[in-house]
Symmetry: C2
Subunit: 326 residues, 2 copies
């Protein structure tokens, strides 16, 4: 997607000026901040810039908000990696692993403060609405992470609770990235709402597809190990869908297999795949993803007053996220 | 201090309305937030309210900023307690100890987001300057905590480095509480600067007195165990002053005693007290505190355009913090 790459380069260039007006007294606090911002697809700021442009705003006027959202996203990753004790992220050691827990907490905190410092670089009239929107989204993302942590030790999680969790933890921030672009381009309330719903449903589709690919991706194309969610006992869409579909006996077999510590990984993955297959979980999951993807498109087409080429550019992001050709 | 108690009660009452405009989707995230806000002397918001009033502003107009500073202060405590693995705070289990590390990280993050949500309740014209000032202070506090963490494993810490650390970690937020009150009362830049310097020097005096009382307080009056800083190997003002004053031989004895794991606590404290006494550390420390206290008063008297009763009320806080009668 060379078109998206152009925006990504602009974002990387602008990121280097985040500290333009601020002189740190202690530099070591910020080394993990720079490190955490490296790489990454910069999806959220790209969504924001393209949407603002679609509604007729100059991207230079909204760049601080784009940088703030990217900073916020990476702040959540730094702290989530502590909470999950994850050693790797984007193929590199996490801040938690490269430094330690305390450094990841503290530099993460600094990142959240820098989110707001960056928003303050917006034109004065945008500071209040942008800060309001991102703070609201930030609290929702925290609530999603809270649910995710609680699900780890919870016995029964319903599919609806799972959908609520991924909406809060993932879809809200993607939706907010689009909405922020519209807001800062002075789009109407109804346009802001439609683009939010577009982003939310796209985010849900993306997250469920992520669960699907963990088990059904082509190992040669997929970057990670197939079936990792099963090995780490993650309650994914697939697992919860199977539990809701299965009869009592199959449910019992599924649960005992899922938590069986003596079964070798390969055998476990194979056995669970068989159960999913009998229950038609993969087909049903693909249908759910398709429906959400189509719903997101429906919301995009509801938006008036943007021309078709602008709509096309926004839809490109959806295709890129879902890795679809058309 | 019944006069200060009046402000404290107003703050407690206002705290209950922080969530007035926000409906959480997940309530469990916020239980540790409420818990962390309980008790506490509410010094910083009191400083802010009294200063704003001294400069002629209605305290209702600045209450959101007072609540935000108190929220920020408690956010730092929740995360600091994780970093220090402290089980107790204000005589109660810390959030980290009552829940766990992950909950303390996540609810602490929510507190920092709530800081900004609270600032957004200010009158529109105050949102930008208040957010700017508190974000700046927040980064300085994080930098101070960074230095504090680094000092733990550092062999050589100078007295100047220590003063820089406590300025950032403690004095900046106290100074900012006063300055914020002046800022939101539209006080002149020079008044804002003087009240900031007043608060900064008062904060330094307070922190050094805290180090002093850890060893020299009357056990019957002091709430904590005497000599705790020595037992936990904390590099306090006393210790660093002694190192800077001592000759090579005394320095060697001091360090070997300080880190001697075989010496019983009582004996260690007694021996170090003797070394401090020979080096006149207690007297010199009291002089430093006195000088900072007098310097803070000098800045308070530099402020024009506030009447003497207002100046008297601000000075009451200084006396209260230092527990002095006059």
């Amino acid at each position: 997607m060379e078109n998206l790459e152009k925006y990504r380069q602009l974002i990387i260039k602008a990121q280097q000026k985040i500290f333009f007006n601020y002189k740190p007294s202690v530099k070591s606090l910020y080394a993990p901040v720079y490190y955490a911002l490296e790489n990454g697809k910069k999806i959220r700021p790209i969504c924001l810039l393209i949407t603002a442009e679609a509604f007729g705003q100059d991207i230079n006027n909204v760049m601080p908000a784009a940088l703030a959202i990217e900073m916020f996203h990476n702040f959540t990753l730094v702290h989530d990696d502590v909470m999950d004790r994850s050693p790797l992220r984007r193929g590199k050691p996490t801040v938690y692993h490269k430094w330690d827990i305390n450094q990841a907490i503290l530099s993460g905190d600094a990142m959240l403060l820098l989110v707001y410092q960056t928003l303050l670089q917006l034109d004065e009239k945008f500071i209040k609405p942008a800060t309001e929107l991102l703070t609201w989204a930030g609290l929702k993302v925290s609530e999603g992470q809270q649910l995710d942590l609680e699900f780890e030790t919870k016995n029964k999680v319903s599919l609806n609770q799972y959908l609520k969790m991924i909406e809060l933890k993932t879809a809200v921030l993607l939706a907010t990235s689009f909405k922020m672009g519209a807001l800062l381009a002075n789009a109407s309330k109804s346009a802001q709402n439609n683009i939010y719903q577009f982003g939310k449903n796209l985010g849900l589709a993306f997250q469920i597809q992520d669960d699907y690919l963990d088990l059904y991706a082509d190992q040669n194309v997929f970057g990670k190990k197939i079936g990792n969610d099963i090995i780490t006992h993650k309650k994914t869409y697939l697992f919860l869908k199977a539990l809701e579909t299965a009869d009592a006996q199959t449910k019992k077999t599924l649960i005992s297999t899922f938590y069986d510590e003596n079964l070798p990984a390969e055998q476990k993955i194979e056995k669970i795949k068989q159960i999913y297959s009998t229950l038609e979980v993969p087909q049903q999951t693909l249908t759910t993803i398709e429906n959400l993807y189509n719903l997101s498109q429906k919301y995009l087409f509801k938006i008036k007053f943007i021309d078709n080429s602008a709509r096309e550019r926004i839809w490109q992001i959806a295709q890129y996220l879902m890795k679809r050709k058309k």
